[in-house]
Structures are given as structure tokens and as C-alpha cells.
């Protein structure tokens, strides 16, 4: 356990830019934009107005064009709606706020795992790492724990911060109006349960997409050059072969199902009841088994690994 924690710290030292700086800068940039909109009372900056984006349609957008302050406009839209509508409205907006970070996160996870057992073979530092009393299984596990759980947690922290900031700014906008801060904004938002859902979704996703991430780390341990070609090439070839031979994408559809980016994961899937059903499903079981086999292969390959 002690060893695992220092191995994880080592991963963060090596990848500080993508694990810490990138989400920090992205979060900071979005916060700044939100703040600017609040200060300048930006007119019709639809892109930044996530509440509008996620909501109904043209008529709505037209309204927003005329509004001179998106926060005021958002409040105006919230005011006079039923509680259910408010809940849906605010929560969709909050989730949309996480969009950019979740999008970046997926690429960071993919390229981190793909590089994790490859780059140290290239620069020969594998001989330093392997000269330490750390088993190959421990090495691979530390990279999976980092990539699948801890890095997403850092990004989720950014999302949480953005959501909190949006709520605070909406609250500030209520000042001086007759709108009730608690009833209109904080009540329906259910921030905490939103965050718990994110954690559930993250855990769910790490198992659901385990074949994909297992495949990435196995390729990373195996490839002698351009691992990305293997990662994309083999599944594509398998899809084509299956199409030609059996004319039905049985395996391929299963495979592509488990390759979805994290942001495509429907957050509703992770609602308690659904998650239990899905966890026990054949789809999920097969994903965990295939992922586990690929991880075992990665550990075995790492044991035989030499410089390249």
C-alpha cells in the first residue's frame, strides 16, 4: 500500500502538465470567462451561456439575444417555472459546464495509458525503474489506478469548482432582485448529489471501458514503435474481418460499445438502481473479464520488456 502511493506520486511527477496544470488552466480559463460575463454583463454570448445551450431552442435563443445579462436571463428563465423544470434546467446546465474538462480528460487518460509502458523503454529509464524492488504487476496497477481513478478525480475537482462558481455567480445576480436565491437556485441544483453521481459514473466507466484501457496498456507494453497505430489498427482490422467473414458486427459492436469516451457516458446510467442492474449484466461482466485478461497480458509483457 505504501509502495503503491509512492508509485502513484511518481506518475504525477512525470505527468504534472497533463494531470495538474492542464485541468487547472482550463478551469481557471472557464472561471475567468464566467466572471467576465458577470462583470461586463455580456450581451448574447450564447457560447458561454450553458444554461441556454442546454435548454429548449430557437425561441429561447432569440430571447437570450435580447437579454443584456446572461445571468439575469438565466434567472428570468428559472423564475416562474415548476420545481421539476428548475431542477432539470439547472442540472443540465451544471453538467454542460463539465463538458470541456471531461472532453480533455478522455484524451489525457488515453494518451497517458498508451505512453505509460512505452516511453521508458524508449529512453532506457526502464532499467532504472526495473532496478527497484517493485513487481511488474505493481507497476501496471499503479498506472491503471492513476489513469482510471485519480486523474479523473482531479478533473472532477475542476468540474465541481466550476459548478460551485456558477451557482455563486447566479446567486450574486439575484441580489437586488426579488428572486429568492435559495428557492430558485440552490434548492433545485442538488450540487452534492450531482457530484456523487459523477463519482458513481467514474467508477462505472472505469469498469465498463476496462477492455479499452486494458488494450491501451497492453499495446503500451508491447509496441516497439508508434503504439497509436496498433491501438487503432487492430480493432479496425478486426471489425473489417468480422464484416467480411460473418457479415454481422457481433464482436465489433461489443468492442466499440466499450470504447466510448467518458463524456458520452449517459450520467443517468449511474443512478443507483440502474448501476446495480448494469453491474450485474453480461455486458459488464464480459467487459471486466476481457479487461482483466488484457491487463494480465500487459503485466506479463512488462516482465519481458527490454529497451527498444
Amino acid at each position: 500500500m505504501n509502495q503503491l502511493s509512492i508509485l502513484i506520486r511518481r506518475e504525477f511527477w512525470e505527468n504534472r502538465n497533463t494531470f495538474v496544470l492542464l485541468p487547472a488552466i482550463t478551469t481557471g480559463f472557464l472561471l475567468l470567462m464566467m466572471l467576465l460575463t458577470l462583470l461586463v454583463s455580456a450581451t448574447s454570448s450564447v457560447d458561454l451561456n450553458v444554461e441556454i445551450q442546454s435548454s429548449q431552442d430557437m425561441e429561447f435563443l432569440n430571447d437570450s439575444m435580447q437579454a443584456d445579462n446572461i445571468y439575469a436571463f438565466a434567472l428570468y428563465q428559472l423564475e416562474g417555472r415548476s420545481t421539476e423544470e428548475r431542477v432539470q434546467y439547472i442540472n443540465t446546465g451544471l453538467q454542460a459546464l463539465g463538458g470541456p474538462l471531461m472532453g480533455i480528460l478522455w484524451f489525457v487518460m488515453v494518451f497517458y495509458l498508451l505512453d505509460s509502458l512505452y516511453s521508458d523503454r524508449r529512453d532506457r529509464s526502464i532499467f532504472f525503474w526495473k532496478s527497484m524492488p517493485v513487481s511488474d504487476a505493481m507497476t501496471v496497477i499503479s498506472k491503471l489506478v492513476t489513469g482510471l481513478w485519480l486523474v479523473p478525480l482531479v478533473y472532477l475537482l475542476g468540474v465541481a469548482l466550476l459548478q460551485l462558481a456558477a451557482m455563486v455567480m447566479l446567486s450574486i445576480a439575484t441580489l437586488g432582485t426579488e428572486i429568492s436565491m435559495v428557492e430558485t437556485v440552490w434548492g433545485p441544483a442538488s450540487l452534492l448529489s450531482n457530484w456523487i453521481q459523477y463519482l458513481g459514473a467514474l467508477l462505472f466507466y472505469s469498469l465498463w471501458a476496462l477492455p479499452f484501457f486494458g488494450w491501451l496498456i497492453a499495446v503500451s507494453a508491447y509496441a516497439k514503435s508508434v503504439p497509436l497505430v496498433w491501438v487503432v489498427g487492430v480493432p479496425l482490422a478486426m471489425t473489417v474481418v468480422e464484416r467480411v467473414v460473418v457479415d454481422q458486427p457481433l464482436f465489433a459492436s461489443w468492442m466499440w460499445d466499450h470504447m466510448i469516451p467518458i463524456s458520452f457516458l449517459n450520467i443517468e446510467q449511474s443512478v443507483a438502481g440502474n448501476i446495480v442492474n448494469l453491474l450485474l449484466s453480461l455486458q459488464m461482466l464480459s467487459a471486466v473479464v476481457v479487461g482483466g485478461v488484457l491487463i494480465a497480458i500487459a503485466i506479463w509483457l512488462r516482465g519481458k520488456a527490454d529497451e527498444i
Binding site: N2, Q3, S5, I6, L7, R9, R10, W13, E14, D120, D123, R124, S125, I126, F127, F128, K130, S131, M132, P133, V134, S135, D136, M138, G303, K304, D306
Partner: protein, 282 residues
């Protein structure tokens, strides 16, 4: 006490090329073994096999473990410095200390810090900011703070200037070696380590061509400066090597009794470098 390393009939092939060809030898506790051979002789492959860093055929036991399956256990009691810097470029010196402290049960951090304090290496530096000599100093300081039974050095001073090389070996012998630790050093610069060694292993073309304790060298091998008039007599004893020195021949004999050699000319023990040349030419 049993052997630290036992190598039995180990071979390794890359396609048709035999990097190691039926190699066998032992390393005893407390010995300093020089693994000496020309470039491409199989030195690095031998050391990497001992460390479990590459696969091979045959039998090997390192501290009782098969390196192919027990690498991480072996590494608790074995340290390794490779021919070129293998410390990752992005690693910070202070983080390297934290890391080894975290994963290695036998790391003495205070000792490493004391040794680093004697160098110009700043703890805030990253490896990529250090010169090649400093990277080797750093690696040596890290490794020497680990209490191990076997230290494996693969051309540790390659590419360093003479001052660094001298300091490196001095440090190794004075601060590290304590008769309980064994060291195996590979090099093709024989002269530099000759005085340190207790055992010689010559390797050429993937085969061990000499396996001999240092103190038996002068019993088995003799070098004689033969004047021209005694050449025929000397050649009859079939020297393994001869070279010209100031009009005389310096000949090296293997397993020829001294009594037969003394009347041929000036007799002395061959230097390791000369013996190396003699063995490599056979």
C-alpha cells in the same frame, strides 16, 4: 557461505547471432569481479540476464532466485548502474530520493544526502539539467545508500573524464566495499579497474575465455622478455601471445612452470591488459 550468483550454461540468441553461448561462472560473496571484453562481447547481456532485465536459456540463480521470475525480489538485494545514464530526464533529485525511500526497504536516505552534499548537484534540479558526470554521481550516490549484497556496474564510467572516473572508483572502494558486498563491473578499460579486482572474467564472442581469481593469475600466467637469440627455445613452449618491445619479444605463457622460463629472460606476471589482449587474440 554459498555463491551469490550461479550461472550454468546460459545462452541467448538474437536470431542467428549468439549473444551468449553456453556461459557458466559463479560470483562468491565479497568478491570484486571484472567482466572484461571488447564491445559486443556479451557483457551487457550477461549483466542484464543476472538482473532479470532480459530473457535467456539455461539456469541461473541470483541470491537463490531465478532472475526471470524473481526480479523484484532480487532487486531488494542487488543494485545496478548502467552504461549510460538511465535516470529519467524529468525526475527531480529530491523526488528520486523520495521515490527510492518509498519503494526500497534498504535505502539509507541520510547517507545519500550526505554524499549528494559533497557534489554540486542541487536537490531541486531535474536530471535533464545535470551534466553526464553529475548524473553518474547522482546515480552512484543513490545506489551507494542502498545496503545490498551485489552491486552490478555496466561500464559505469563510460564517457566520463579521467577525474570523474578516478573519483568514482575511489569512492566505490573506500566508501562502499566492505567484504560482504560483491561487485561485478563490466568494462573494456581494463587498466582502470585492475587494482580493484579480486576475480577476472574475460568474455569474447559470447563465451567466457578466462575465469580466474586475481591471486592465481601469476601462478598460471607468466610474461617473459625474450631476447632474439632465445626465440626458438621460447616458441617451443608455445606462448599464447607475443609482441615486440625494443627489439625483444614479450611472450605470455599459460601453465608453463617457472623453472622452464627463468633462463629465457626477465620473468614477471603479465598485466591484466596484456593478458586480455593475449586472450582476445586466441
Amino acid at each position: 557461505m554459498s555463491e551469490i550468483v550461479e550461472v550454468r550454461n546460459v545462452s541467448k540468441h538474437f536470431g542467428d547471432f549468439a549473444a551468449l553461448d553456453d556461459v557458466s561462472f559463479n560470483i562468491s560473496p565479497g568478491s570484486i569481479v571484472g567482466l572484461i571484453g571488447p564491445n559486443g562481447a556479451g557483457k551487457t547481456t550477461t549483466l542484464k540476464s543476472i538482473l532479470g532485465l532480459t530473457s535467456f536459456d539455461g539456469e541461473m540463480s541470483v541470491l537463490g532466485e531465478d532472475p526471470r521470475s524473481g526480479r523484484h525480489k532480487i532487486m531488494e538485494r542487488v543494485c545496478f548502474i548502467a552504461d549510460v545514464g538511465v535516470l529519467p530526464r524529468w525526475l527531480r533529485v529530491s523526488d528520486a530520493l523520495d521515490y527510492i525511500q518509498g519503494v526500497h526497504p534498504r535505502f539509507n536516505r541520510v547517507r545519500a544526502e550526505v554524499m549528494l552534499a559533497e557534489t554540486k548537484i542541487s536537490k531541486r534540479s531535474k536530471v535533464k539539467e545535470l551534466s553526464k558526470g553529475m548524473v553518474t554521481q547522482l546515480h552512484l550516490a543513490l545506489v551507494m545508500a542502498i545496503e545490498v549484497d551485489l552491486l552490478v556496474l555496466d561500464e559505469p564510467t563510460l564517457g566520463l573524464d579521467i577525474l570523474f572516473r578516478k573519483a568514482f572508483y575511489e569512492r566505490l572502494l573506500n566508501d562502499y566495499f566492505d567484504n560482504e558486498t560483491s561487485i561485478i563491473i563490466s568494462t573494456h578499460q581494463v587498466e582502470e579497474i585492475e587494482s580493484l579486482l579480486t576475480h577476472l572474467l574475460f568474455i569474447n564472442g559470447g563465451r567466457i575465455v578466462l575465469d580466474c581469481p586475481m591471486d592465481e593469475i601469476d601462478e598460471i600466467y607468466s610474461e617473459v622478455l625474450v631476447p632474439p637469440n632465445k626465440l626458438q627455445q621460447a616458441n617451443a613452449l608455445s606462448p599464447i601471445h607475443s609482441r615486440d618491445i625494443l627489439g625483444q619479444k614479450a611472450m605470455i605463457f599459460e601453465n608453463v612452470p617457472r623453472e622452464q622460463l627463468t633462463n629465457l629472460g626477465e620473468l614477471h606476471a603479465p598485466s591484466v591488459a596484456d593478458l586480455f589482449v593475449a586472450k582476445m587474440h586466441r
